[in-house]
């Protein structure tokens, strides 16, 4: 029976970050990955935009930015598309139907949100404080959070506290007239969450995502595969053992403490420290087993909202893709969410576990291929998606803008497929919704926050922890730091 200092379940990017960090600190680490390749869900990230400089520094990773064309193109049925260009975080309109007043206000709203998200961003990369722990460090962190908000000044602090629980539709409708611009910003707020533009808290999600990405429209990119490769190299250099194509069946415990893990093939590895890169529900209900957890804790685990609703669509066409009324050089991120009403209607279907008649899309074009995030395609329990129907709906939207679509190849990855492939209960990008009660020191939920769990020696390091999804790597790093702290 092999013994390790730390075993990491799941070789997602957070698992790799954690293992690299731990092995750099001289620990003997084992990573167990279910699939043939490591990297996990990062495979579906179009290209990365948000690995944090801290990770680059700590692990000595050096991935260059790729220069996408920095445009955001919001498509409109009447072919009067809006094009925004982003130059180092400075937005300007290239083409739009909206009047000057609207343009000005739109940019000022974004500036406001940027300011607020900076305030939140200060806590993004730290371990969130524990409330009522009585420890000085936690208290200090809480005070500094309060102080950062206070420091915004009277007017801005009031504005932040006003919008933080607000739905984005209300704020936009108060300020703008152009449906297209409202749809564009609403899209960024609701993509990847279980919210519609009129759901309370949708502004907070936008601010939060912006704080993680350091940009509202996610534009500075690096190559995913390259990043994962470098992480894997970093692991190999530091003698991390990685077992691929093996699935963990059970986390073994005794007397409320971890003793090791057992694989589906029966093999057992011993360790007093186990980190789970799986989502909280999978970790607690499947890997650990509810039998040894308190009933209140199981309730909270079950109530963790983790229903994914974004599907990934990959299309290959016969000819090079041209978008109507858009210059070929104007490549970038295309968004089809032409107004609050449209998105909200799409969201209505989601509430009743149906996919939207009129899906919203975000897509990138690369010569003959197109890859899109489609929402809302809810995670379904007990039934299957009619995939062809969903693809048809998407194609009928796309064909408004792409003349003569001749599809050679098509592939749809629904939340259910993501669940199956990566063992993520609910197939959620972020392992769980980013909403006010599932953020910061409350993520994923009370009793499991700050990367620790009720079981001694078991830690969470996946997207279910603070700061949530997005390929930041911070979750893995913070969790690894916590393990090092406890190992002492």
């Amino acid at each position: 029976m092999k013994k390790f200092d730390v075993i990491i379940i799941g070789g997602g990017h957070n698992g790799l970050v954690a293992s690299s960090y731990l092995s750099k600190k001289g620990k003997k680490v084992l990573v167990i990955e279910k699939n043939e390749n490591v990297g996990g869900l990062a495979e579906y990230a179009e290209s990365l935009n948000c690995i944090s400089p801290i990770i680059k520094k700590e692990l000595g990773i050096n991935v260059n930015n790729i220069n996408h064309s920095n445009n955001i193109i919001s498509l409109e049925d009447n072919q009067n598309h809006t094009i925004l260009s982003d130059k180092n975080g400075k937005l300007s309109f290239v083409q739009t139907n909206a009047d000057e007043n609207d343009q000005k206000k739109f940019l000022s709203i974004i500036n406001n949100y940027k300011l607020f998200s900076k305030t939140l961003g200060a806590f993004m990369f730290q371990k969130p404080p524990r409330v009522k722990s009585g420890k000085r460090a936690d208290l200090f962190q809480l005070i500094s959070m309060g102080w950062k908000i206070r420091k915004l000044g009277k007017k801005n602090m009031r504005e932040l506290l006003r919008v933080i629980g607000l739905n984005i539709a209300d704020d936009l409708e108060d300020n703008l007239n152009s449906n297209n611009l409202m749809g564009l910003l609403s899209h960024e707020a609701v993509l990847g969450t279980n919210l519609g533009p009129r759901s309370p808290g949708s502004i907070l999600t936008l601010l939060y995502k912006q704080a993680i990405n350091d940009n509202i429209f996610n534009l500075n990119k690096i190559e995913v595969a390259e990043y994962i490769n470098q992480l894997e190299d970093c692991c190999n250099k530091n003698t991390v053992e990685i077992i691929k194509s093996s699935e963990v069946k059970k986390i073994l415990t005794q007397n409320n403490s971890v003793t090791g893990v057992q694989l589906t093939n029966g093999e057992v590895f011993e360790s007093k420290y186990v980190m789970s890169n799986a989502d909280p529900k999978t970790t607690y209900l499947n890997l650990l087993g509810a039998e040894i957890l308190d009933t209140d804790f199981i309730r909270r685990t079950k109530n963790f909202r983790n229903k994914g609703n974004v599907a990934k669509l990959e299309l290959a066409l016969e000819n090079e893709i041209n978008i109507n009324n858009i210059d070929k050089k104007m490549n970038g991120k295309f968004i089809y969410a032409p107004g609050i009403k449209y998105i909200e209607h799409a969201f209505n279907a989601n509430k009743y576990n149906k996919y939207s008649e009129n899906p919203c899309l975000e897509f990138y074009v690369n010569q003959k291929t197109l890859s899109a995030n489609v929402y809302y395609v809810p995670y379904l329990i007990n039934t299957n998606h009619k995939e062809n129907e969903i693809i048809e709906r998407c194609v009928s939207v796309l064909s408004k803008f792409i003349p003569d679509m001749k599809i050679v190849k098509q592939k749809l990855i629904t939340p259910n497929k993501m669940e199956e492939k990566f063992n993520i209960t609910g197939g959620h990008w972020h392992h769980g919704d980013l909403e006010i009660d599932q953020l910061l020191m409350m993520r994923p939920f009370y009793g499991s926050a700050q990367y620790s769990t009720p079981i001694n020696g078991l830690y969470l390091c996946g997207a279910g922890t603070h700061p949530g999804g997005g390929v930041t790597g911070i979750n893995g790093l913070n969790a690894a730091k916590k393990v090092i702290e406890d190992l002492k």
Partner: protein
């Protein structure tokens, strides 16, 4: 539950015994228990109490919540739920247990009937379906609320066995305390358990609702010689205080219902530490209970023997015989003048410095006298909660 019987004009359900209980209930004084109507007082609380202490009393306890736990993991489920270890429980045995939340605070207590390894039944006063169902996560065990399908009577008192004997319930005298079995009362199949709330010999009878009236009538059959009375909730309250049984949401707030966290109580505070087995591998609240035990209770539920004869209902407890120097140290949760013990008794919380048996504390009793209160400063001695515990309760064969 037959909800069709409920309407806005008739918001409470009637138990299968209602035809009889309503005949007996001259006082027409009803109590609302889990959506049912049960008698608070039939004609005279004192008489009903006396019947339970001298012959036998019949109490309609149908509204009790009853949950069937079935499946391969039924026993494992119970062991996770309650704080006590029931690994060695045998068929036809009854266990008394409490269950706590993750903070080690008591949610409710109940009796657990073991039919076999794969089938248990839990009887409790509060609704617990939600808690049980969530606790069953990960176990191969189903939880079903079967409350409406069973009619129940408590038959308590020194002559209860004698009367069952007269009814030719075979071998009933050999039923041991905390056991149950199937019996026959005048051609009706019933389940009888030797359990109860009175601190004396007594039984609880479980039957199909369709047979309820016949079973009720049988128990009153020998009333020419043995004056069996229907007893209401008030009389039950008297015997349970004497016996030292505690009641959720009366003596303590159920952790599932308390709104204020500092109103919840752990087993050590309730004097139920003997029901907690910290050696057991796992149960909900274990980690918290280890801490609670280490720390020791800040306050404790104790029995109080109070001077005088004025019941200390709702009294505040103090530490000094001189009122002007006294500090508050506790509160009375239930109090009565005990006719059978001829003493003034109470159950109450007393703080750390004073809960040792034999300590003296003082109660300020507000005694109503013709639209005015007389304030009495009464000395109380801290005693065991079990004021009344007749040896008959545990003897087998039972007293006939």
């Amino acid at each position: 539950m037959n909800t069709s019987k409920i309407s806005y004009k008739k918001p409470l359900l009637e138990t299968p015994f209602h035809e009889r209980t309503s005949e007996h209930c001259y006082a027409n004084d009803w109590y609302r228990w889990a959506g049912y109507k049960v008698a608070k007082e039939y004609s005279s609380t004192e008489l009903e109490y006396t019947s339970m202490r001298n012959t036998a009393g019949v109490i309609d306890i149908t509204p009790m919540h009853k949950y069937d736990i079935k499946g391969e993991d039924a026993k494992k489920f119970i062991n996770k739920l309650i704080t006590k270890d029931i690994t060695n429980i045998q068929s036809n045995q009854v266990a008394y247990g409490i269950w706590c939340n993750e903070d080690g605070m008591v949610i409710d207590d109940g009796t657990i009937f073991c039919f076999n390894e794969n089938h248990f039944r839990i009887f409790c006063a509060e609704r617990n379906l939600n808690w049980f169902s969530d606790t069953a996560t990960g176990f191969n065990a189903s939880v079903e609320d079967i409350s409406p399908s069973i009619a129940a009577l408590a038959f308590q008192g020194p002559l209860s066995c004698k009367i069952l004997n007269l009814l030719k319930v075979e071998n009933i005298e050999n039923l041991k305390p905390f056991h149950f079995n199937n019996y026959n009362i005048e051609n009706h199949n019933v389940t009888i358990s030797r359990t109860g709330f009175s601190g004396d010999l007594g039984y609880e009878i479980w039957c199909d609702p369709s047979q309820a009236i016949d079973v009720w009538d049988s128990l009153f059959k020998f009333n020419r010689d043995y004056k069996v009375l229907a007893a209401g909730m008030n009389a039950l309250e008297m015997v349970r205080i004497e016996a030292g049984f505690i009641q959720p949401n009366v003596d303590f707030m159920s952790a599932e219902q308390a709104l204020r966290p500092n109103r919840m109580r752990n087993p050590y505070e309730l004097g139920l530490g003997w029901l907690v087995n910290l050696d057991k591998e796992y149960f909900t609240g274990k980690q918290a209970l280890i801490r609670h035990k280490e720390k020791g209770p800040e306050k404790k539920l104790v029995g109080l023997d109070i001077e005088g004869d004025k019941p200390a209902v709702g009294s505040v407890l103090y530490d000094n015989s001189k009122k002007n120097q006294a500090k508050e140290i506790g509160i009375v949760t239930a109090a009565m003048w005990s006719p059978v013990l001829k003493s003034n008794i109470a159950i109450g919380f007393v703080s750390k410095e004073h809960y040792k048996l034999g300590s003296n504390v003082y109660a300020e009793i507000y005694h109503p006298e013709e639209l005015d209160y007389r304030k009495i400063w009464a000395e109380c001695k801290v005693v065991k909660k079990q004021f009344f515990n007749n040896p008959r309760r545990n003897e087998t064969p039972a007293f006939t």
